[in-house]
Amino acid sequence: MNAGATLARCPGCGKALPADAPEGLCPRCLIARNLSEPTRVAAGAGSEPPTVTSLPDDFARHFPQFEILECLGRGGMGLVYKARQTLLGRLVALKILDPARARDPQFAERFQREAQALARLNHPAIVTVHEFGETHGLFFLVMEYVDGASLRDVLRQGRVPPQLALSIVPKICEALQFAHEQGVVHRDIKPENLLLDRQGRVKIADFGIAKLFGEPTAAPPLTEARAIVGTPHYMAPEQVEHPQSVDHRADIYSLGVVFYELLTGELPLGRFSPPSLKARVDHRLDPVVLRALEKEPTQRYQQAADVRTDIEFISATPDSPPGPTPNPSAASRRNTATSDRTSPSNDDPTSALRLLSLGLGAVGVLNIAAVLGALLFAVALVLCDRLGIDLDGPLPEIAEWLQDPTPSDWRWTLATTGFFLLAGGGLTVLGASRLRRLRSYRLALMACVIAMVLPPALLLGLPLGIWGLVLLGRRNVQARFTAAHESQVTERPSQCGAEDERTRFRNDNLRSAAWVILVPLALMFLTTQWLKSEGPSATRRRAILLEEQLNREQVAIAIAASAVDRNREGKTTATVRTLESSPPVVIQTLPVAGADQVSATLSELRVTFSKDMKDNHWTWAEWKPGSLPETTGPAKFLEDGRTWTLPVRLVPGRAYAIWINSEEKRGFRDLRDQPSLPYLLHFQVVSTQEVSP
């Protein structure tokens, strides 16, 4: 590529503009965007899809008073030509009705009657019918030529700004109102029939033409199946269902469709969202659009002028104005919250609501994640423990604690807390999702409250919840919930009534909430049950083993001690050497520890250790206050160097427990100054009654 060939990029396709691009425009896009699609017949009155319509080749000679210049469009109803009226020198649109469709014997009469009515429609926003007639079997209308584009052409250039829609639609309303007052219904309002002249002024074309051919959807002959008059997406439901009872309110429905399309760039098909959810549009227009689009004509605006009034009121006042809501739509009429309080804020709540829903969702997810994380940690810990994987630090203790098989309050407290957090988190997320789709005001409120009180994400949740409550308290926000709810209820293509639909909605919300509560409940219950199942933990088993081993060691020490006895005079064995470094243990007591038949006449306690002990150190400690017998003299160290005695007076029937060295006090020490292992000497003295027999 030559240097300097990529100076700029085409805004259409984003590719580099060649240096020799004509007029600095991307040559590719010039052709692709203007010519690659099938050639459209554009501009002028209507551009319906081509049909089988054909005119005699020499039709032009039947219209000697016109100089036919250009074909502007051809469609189900006929052909439109741009023509010059030679005598007057004015440009007109000559519409020649489809000869095939005008064969009906009653057509001539109907044409006469309707065309007269149309010719009376003299309004700046309605394409004027100058003249009409029939020549050589061709029915024609001579109409004002509008030098401009149809609304369809304008829509093809991209979405129009709301201001444009707000300036056009009231004009259409005005013209429709005028025509309706003259008893003329358009029956085919759609962007193709709404023309804009070079100054951007709107004009309605093809008024009442649909009626010339009978009802739009009256089952057409099979051979003309393609020639259905009217455009399904713009037709009021009653135009399909009861074509005979169509009145001016059908036009109001079609206008609603056009309005919706202008605002959102989409058609209101199926279960559609209010315009303000689709585009940056004043949310107060929602009820206006939705009311124009009511399926039931009686629920709709009854006069086109009312639509205009509401729109102009909204355009003229800032968002959320003081005073009653200007649009007494089906939605707002049912909304008892509609009062006359001034809303605290004027801005569009769409983005705020979106942000709130995101925030609440995050808080909920945080809560859920915290609980699930803790739960997973506990389960993993217990699993490790049960599988015998070594754990460090405080973990084994926690694992054992978790699996404690005895009924314990703390575990239930923990499980309940977990359940509340989990269910709360779930409800917050549910509320946030309902808030996002404006489906449940109550769930949204609940989500805010829960977000404020649930601890793990409280830092984020508290301010968010407060803000949410303030936001949800706004009247315009409440109205949006109501409007969205109404639209979802009424626009659902369902056989059952709106009331059933409303109940279904409520049940749906309740069901979701129930799930969100039941699932954590089951989860926490099952986990708790599992934790305490399966008997003792590995830690516990290990503790038991350790205990047994200690016992065995003590026995071993005792045996070794007697061996030392035997070898006292002789050589010390390897075992003895090993044992020398071990602390001494109690190997014999009088009375025997645990004895329950000790005679009250016993006057002295005796303790023998496994090693030679120092003679001036001892600790006879009470196990608990009063568990030490009354001493009758000082303790004595016997000559074997290992035995101590303590003179005591025992009381019949009493139990005694004496620490021979306790954990805290360790007076008994061997010659290497190692304290003996603590030993609890406990026994029961027989009562005198038991002894006497």
Binding site: A5, C29, I31, A60
Partner: protein, 248 residues
């Protein structure tokens, strides 16, 4: 739209597009003044792609200019048009094939010119041609492809020039400059609102104006192509072909 109309309304209506190329084809046997005039107009418009082709095949600027001019002179004088096949029907094809043949036999043609070619002389600014040639991208392209691309661009230039002149005549040259950008985009940007503000019109009016501009562009472009094909039915084919060339 001319092409969608039945060709029955006669000259009165003016919507039956008589293409220059069809005039040439019908006139080729008689060498009528009308045919010569149509040919001259076409040559005047489409000389540059041939010049670029000659340059691309390695000719020096002077030689390329010489060859192109001789070719046209020869075309007018000798009635090379006899070779044109109305069934194939593309002026673009015809011109390229004839030019290639001419270049191949250039010596003979030079000689012919020296004998003194009578008829129409097509002249142009040589320097301008060379400057244009120098800024052409894709120097590595084959000459045929460069010719076709250049052809498509010439058609577009011609169309835009006519469009501009129409708007200038109506005293709206400034408006044209603001609006032409919308010809290559389907959606914003450029912003309709900004353009409307710049021109001091309502946005609705601006959108109507954009629509009219695109509509007129479409009409003129089809008309320009119509001059280079034998039948109106060929226009859509030719548009497709041009789009393919430019898409590469």
């Amino acid at each position: 739209m001319p092409s969608t109309e039945p060709p029955h309304a006669g000259e009165r209506s003016g919507w039956f597009a008589t293409t220059h190329w069809s005039v040439i084809l019908s006139a080729r046997d008689t060498a009528s003044p009308k045919g010569a005039e149509a040919l001259e107009r076409l040559c005047r418009t489409y000389w540059y792609p041939l010049y670029a082709f000659a340059r691309r095949t390695g000719a020096h600027p002077e030689d390329a200019q010489d060859a192109t001019q001789s070719f046209f002179a020869d075309l007018f004088r000798r009635g090379s048009l006899q070779q044109a096949d109305p069934e194939k029907g593309r002026f673009r094809n015809f011109l390229l094939v004839a030019f290639k043949r001419f270049l191949a036999n250039q010596n003979e043609h030079r000689h012919a010119q020296k004998r003194g070619g009578a008829g129409v002389q097509v002249t142009w600014d040589t320097d301008l041609a060379e400057r244009r040639y120098q800024i052409e991208p894709h120097a590595s392209w084959p000459a045929e492809r460069a010719f076709e691309r250049r052809w498509a661009l010439t058609l577009l230039e011609q169309t835009l020039a006519r469009l501009r002149s129409e708007w200038s005549v109506a005293g709206k040259a400034g408006e044209f400059d603001h609006l032409k950008g919308f010809l290559t985009v389907d959606r914003e940007p450029p912003s309709y609102a900004a353009a409307a503000a710049a021109l001091g019109v309502a946005e609705g009016a601006l959108r109507v104006a954009v629509h009219r501009l695109r509509h007129r562009f479409r009409e003129l472009f089809r008309e320009e192509i119509g001059h280079t094909v034998a039948r109106p039915d060929d226009i859509d084919d030719e548009i497709r072909h041009l789009l393919e060339i430019l898409a590469e």
